[in-house]
């Protein structure tokens, strides 16, 4: 009966209750949509960076990711590759070697990062082949062919078919020099990468840079982001079996892309501040509603106390009422928030020309939120928690009432 009473009390002032419910629902909707949107964006960013640059996992000589020294190599890439074949969830792997070099066209010279890749395997792992804007990607059997980042090509004033002189440091300290033929130009969308990256076939790289069969990175991808952790520990556990002068280590994408993780954390941090402000505003309006409701009914509470109700009973009833209001708002908010998110997930939102962080990490200009349990439940849960917390104040305020004084109030 008390629950029934609380339910009826909620609908005593339908307009006010509906407004309160809508405020709560709106806060939930906004939280669900924005969180889903942010997480959707992060996933795209991570996937893009992983696809273009790092892969999910890399086996490298210790500290190679911090300081790319030519001589810190993986001497027996085949042994590491065989090891990866046996690890569950790793779907593909490839080898890469990198060397910094001066690149000269007919009238300009720029520094660039030359990467030796296995064209066929690289297609399975990175998206570079699909971002070719001009010409074609490398094929197995190519020798002194190169694909060049679009901004680098622009800086060097070269296009497909032009020649490029490469001058660098080989593994043994000697000079690596060759002439490359531009076969294609790619544009990953990540400015930094497109400004410096150039790919050539790995065997040719090994010859030019005197690698003696060694590579710098064994790059692997997994079937999902969640599988990366377990796969990493399996690989790490098996690495000591591979002989190497310098210790090898297995790093995951987030360790290899600290900048990306930082950007995400900063973005999320800013978002959280905004969400908290939103929730506090909603909480105050709800507190106002609850206080008014208690204030208006002082006389009635006086009567209830006079006929023998203890303050705890009134507090309980008021908390039921708040719980009803909040639950209605939250259920409505979750339903509307999920509906909106799913709708936008299917249509996508077209952004203008991507800017800043987006541009840096190669985000496409159609964005889709990504609804998940996390994004659907976190916001509403926090709203519920904060709202019930604010409801405590008026609910406990009735404890101070004295029956005679309360009945005097009209």
């Amino acid at each position: 009966m008390e629950i029934l009473m609380a339910w009826r009390n909620v609908w005593r002032n339908p307009r006010r209750s509906v407004l309160t419910i809508l405020a709560i629902a709106f806060a939930c909707l906004l939280l669900i949509f924005m969180l889903s949107f942010q997480f959707g964006m992060y996933e795209v960013m991570i996937n893009a960076a992983v696809k273009v640059q790092t892969g999910h996992l890399q086996v490298i000589a210790k500290d190679y990711d911090k300081d790319m020294k030519m001589r810190w190599v993986v001497e027996d890439p085949q042994a590491v590759g065989d090891l990866m074949l046996a690890v569950p969830h790793i779907t593909a792997h490839t080898f890469r070697a990198n060397g910094f070099a001066l690149l000269s066209s007919r009238d300009r010279t720029y520094g660039g990062m030359v990467t030796g890749v296995l064209p066929a395997r690289e297609r399975e792992i990175s998206s570079t082949a699909s971002t070719i804007r001009q010409g074609a990607y490398l094929e197995p059997g190519d020798t002194n062919q190169a694909v060049v980042g679009s901004l680098l090509a622009k800086n060097l004033h070269i296009s497909v078919g032009d020649e490029l002189v490469l001058l660098g440091n080989a593994r043994d300290g000697s000079i690596a020099a060759t002439v490359l033929n531009v076969k294609g130009v790619f544009s990953s969308g990540m400015d930094e990468y497109d400004r410096s990256a150039i790919q050539i076939p790995l065997p040719y790289f090994q010859e030019v840079f005197a690698m003696r069969g060694a590579v710098h990175q064994v790059v692997a991808v997994c079937d999902s982001l969640t599988a990366v952790g377990p796969a990493q520990s399996t690989v790490t556990g098996n690495l000591p079996k591979v002989k190497s002068k310098r210790n090898l280590e297995c790093k995951s994408w987030d360790e290899l892309l600290p900048g990306l993780i930082q950007s995400i954390q900063m973005d999320l941090g800013g978002g959280i501040i905004f969400y908290l402000i939103l929730i506090v505003v909603v909480a105050f309006s709800i507190m106002n509603t609850f206080l008014m409701a208690v204030f208006e009914r002082t006389h009635e509470f006086g009567t209830l106390m006079a006929i023998g109700a203890k303050p705890a009973r009134l507090t309980k009833m008021l908390l039921y009422e708040s719980a009803f209001l909040t639950s209605c708002g939250i259920i409505l908010g979750i339903a509307a928030g999920c509906a909106l998110t799913i709708y936008v997930e299917s249509t996508g939102i077209t952004l203008g020309e991507a800017q800043g962080m987006l541009r840096q990490y190669g985000i496409p200009n159609v964005m889709r939120p990504e609804l998940s349990w996390l994004t659907a439940v976190t916001g509403p849960f926090v709203v519920f928690f904060i709202t019930m917390l604010t409801a405590l104040y008026p609910a406990f305020k009735v404890r101070k009432l004295k029956p005679v004084e309360a009945m005097h109030a009209i």
Partner: protein, 227 residues
Amino acid sequence: MSIVHIDNVTKTYRQGKVDVHALSGISLDISKGGFTVLAGPSGSGKTTLLNLMGGLDNPTSGSITLDGEVITGLSQSRLADMRLEKIGFVFQAYNLIPVLSAQENVEYVMLMQGVPAKERSERARAVLDDVGLEGKYSRRPAELSGGQQQRVAVARAIVSHPSIVLADEPTANLDSKTGQGLLEIMCEMNEKRNATFIFSTHDQMVMDYAKRLVHLKDGRIVDDETR
């Protein structure tokens, strides 16, 4: 046997810097089953005295014994229990709970006492029948007339067989005919259920129903007649 024993009770309100002596030395014995009316002009202390008897407030000095138990100085929580078990209230302004139906209003007291649902419902209907509200069980207060609301209030006050029923000007908001009807019902309940009724009023018609009439003036008893 006396159900209420009031011993030299005073009540002083502080209003700003002045003390208002609402009651100055009241001693009174009320016997079980009586139908007592407190009469007196406005400001004479009727409401104050009823509130003290009902444990809604504590006297400034003196003591009050209710059904053998001294209630002066009890904690708020004990007073609430005492009100729930021993006292029924009827207020001038009906004071029903607007979101509850007539039957639920009557049941609410029993709910707090922990009476099982089935018994609650039967007893509530029986007492509503007694006050002449058959068939109006599910009406909300807003759907009842003032007289009917006050009958629900009487039903709520007597349903759990309290030691005393306190009614502060129960007829003041009713026209004289409706008020008379209500008084008839209370008289009937007084006899049928042997409930002790204590009223306040300044209405001559109500005083005519009294078996005992106590006149108050300026916080003192000026006349006490039993008829």
